[in-house]
């Protein structure tokens, strides 16, 4: 089995973070998760700015994105990711409480790869997070480095 890549998990609610990590942990997927607490931090991480200047150069294989967050919200993060030649290769999954149609439409219009509503029921929640982690970290073939067009990624 290949080495799973890492997940960037963008979530402002610490309890959700704990629950999500708990769920991933049950399936031994938690190690690969980097948690940031708002949209601004997420963008800093992705662009290796400020406190994330020193992070390793390899990008996450998945961004798990909450929509409603302080400072920069999920839509803005999504918009910037999908309009950046390099970052747009990273799959983005919205993980939110909102089932509102307008949020769904806005997300897909911005190019989201999947939209998951956080189930209220814990077992379903764990199931959903597990499925997400397994699918994107294990089943799905990530973008090969050769497909990346940014300058600081080595070409193959």
């Amino acid at each position: 089995m290949r080495e799973p890549g890492s997940i960037l998990y963008v979530e402002d609610d610490e309890r959700d973070v704990e629950l999500t990590l708990g769920a991933l942990e049950q399936h031994h997927l938690a190690n690969a998760v980097t948690v940031v607490r708002d949209g601004e931090e997420a963008l800093d991480y992705l662009y290796r700015r400020r406190s994330f200047q020193e992070r390793p150069t390899n990008d996450p294989v998945l961004v798990l994105l909450d929509l409603k967050m302080p400072k920069v919200d999920g839509f803005e993060v999504l918009r910037q990711i999908k309009s950046d030649a390099r970052l747009k290769m990273i799959p983005v999954v919205v993980l939110t409480s909102s089932r509102e149609e307008k949020d769904l439409i806005a997300s897909y219009q911005l190019g989201v790869n999947a939209y998951v509503v956080k189930p209220v029921d814990f077992e379903q929640f764990v199931g959903a997070v597990k499925d997400l982690g397994l699918f994107w970290l294990v089943l799905n073939e990530p973008t090969p480095p050769a497909g990346r067009t940014d300058d600081d990624s080595p070409r193959g």
Partner: protein, 518 residues
Amino acid sequence: MSVSDITLDPSPQEAPDESEVKYRQLFDNLIHGFAIQEIICDEQGKPCDFRILEVNRRWEEITGAKAEDVVGKTVREMFPEVEDYWIEALGNVALTGEPARLANYARALDKHLDLSVFSPRKGQFASVCIDVTEEKRTLESLRRSEARFRAMFEGAGVGIALVDRSGRLQDCNAALQYMTGFTQEELKTKTFAEITHPEDRRKNLDVHEELASGGRDHYALEKRYVRKDGSTIWGRLNVSLVRDAEGKPDYSVGMVEDVTERKRAEDELRRLNAELEQRVLDRTAALDSANKELEAFSYSVSHDLRAPLRHVTGFVNLLEQHAGTSMDDKSRRYAGIIADSARRMGRLIDDLLEFSRTGRAELKKTVFALTPLLEDVRRECLRDAGERNVQWKIGDLPEVAGDRSLLRLVLVNLVANALKFTRDRAAAEIEIGVGPAEKDAVVIFVRDNGVGFDPRHAAKLFGIFERLHAAEEFDGTGIGLANVKQIVQRHGGRVWAEGAVGRGAAFFVSLPEAGGSE
């Protein structure tokens, strides 16, 4: 016996001379009636009758009597109805020899006659008679016609004026005087332009000029008049051109109806309409903003209310895992209740959001068949119901016009309800069919043999959060039927239910017909 035998020719032996012939020709061809008569007097020497001596052809025509029948006879013999005034006046001419002109009515002939009478010899008179009956009658009818029109003119409720080609008022009726506050004499010194509001003068003068020059025969306009006291009234004016015998424009007749009140009412109506429109705009804006607020509210409910619930269920679960065997049964039961309550609240939130969403969703109407939709719904509901013994009885369902996805929700709710409330039946029976038709609507019903309900509470069934069963008995949020009612009402239909405790329930939905007028 000829005329000349009696009077004009006293010597019948002699052949008529030349002047006699001329006279006869003249006599016979005279265009007026001519007669010579001799008076007959009573004992007092007063004329009481005439003997007819001679008449010409025209006289025959006027009287309708033939010469041979009347000559030699008396007037009273021939015309018993003759009035005494004729006898008196004509007799007088014969007696006095004074010529006279008599014009009067002759009852015997039903004619108006105009007679020039002279006396050719003592005791006789000759009359030249003109039949003026036609003229008399024409004049009379003219007089009556004039009287009639004058009465109409004066008595008319609308103002009427005769206007000469220069625009001057030649004549006007009482109504116009009343309307304008001017007397007849004052109006006769004015032109119509002078009593017209300055702002309306130009257009009136222009169109009147066209009329006066024969370019048109009629015009109508609404304009303002300035009354003598300076106040303004609105008039609806109708002007017709009167042409002379040669067809040239002669004068015009204007009729004015006072429409001040109507104008005022129209203005008021316009004002009210504008106000109403503004109010509708204001209300729409208020509604829009209320809707926006509601949307924002439900958005925040959707997002923010669910998160803590998720944490409740999540951490209760983690607690159970963490405590493991150190948790006693009672604690475990409490934890279960906490988790279950949170789950139920989650469903409540979801259903409420759904209710709010369907209330706001725009109706996307199409015409579609219910049968395949019902099949689809039934499969979905059965999947949730698991292994159940259900006898289905599905009728022949029609096409309906409406929003497919919303009406699907109606069917889902009704079918799921039927399944839910027959849960305890060994053999559940669910019938879906067409009820008695209503005007322009089809009625669909879903009937079950489930636990039913107390018909006294039938009205409560469709209210939001109304539940007729304890939550422990049958789960549910009490929103499903409220949603059904909301959707059906938005389609212009209605819902009702029949049932009895322990004897099943039937839910009815009326929907506009597919070919209906929408």
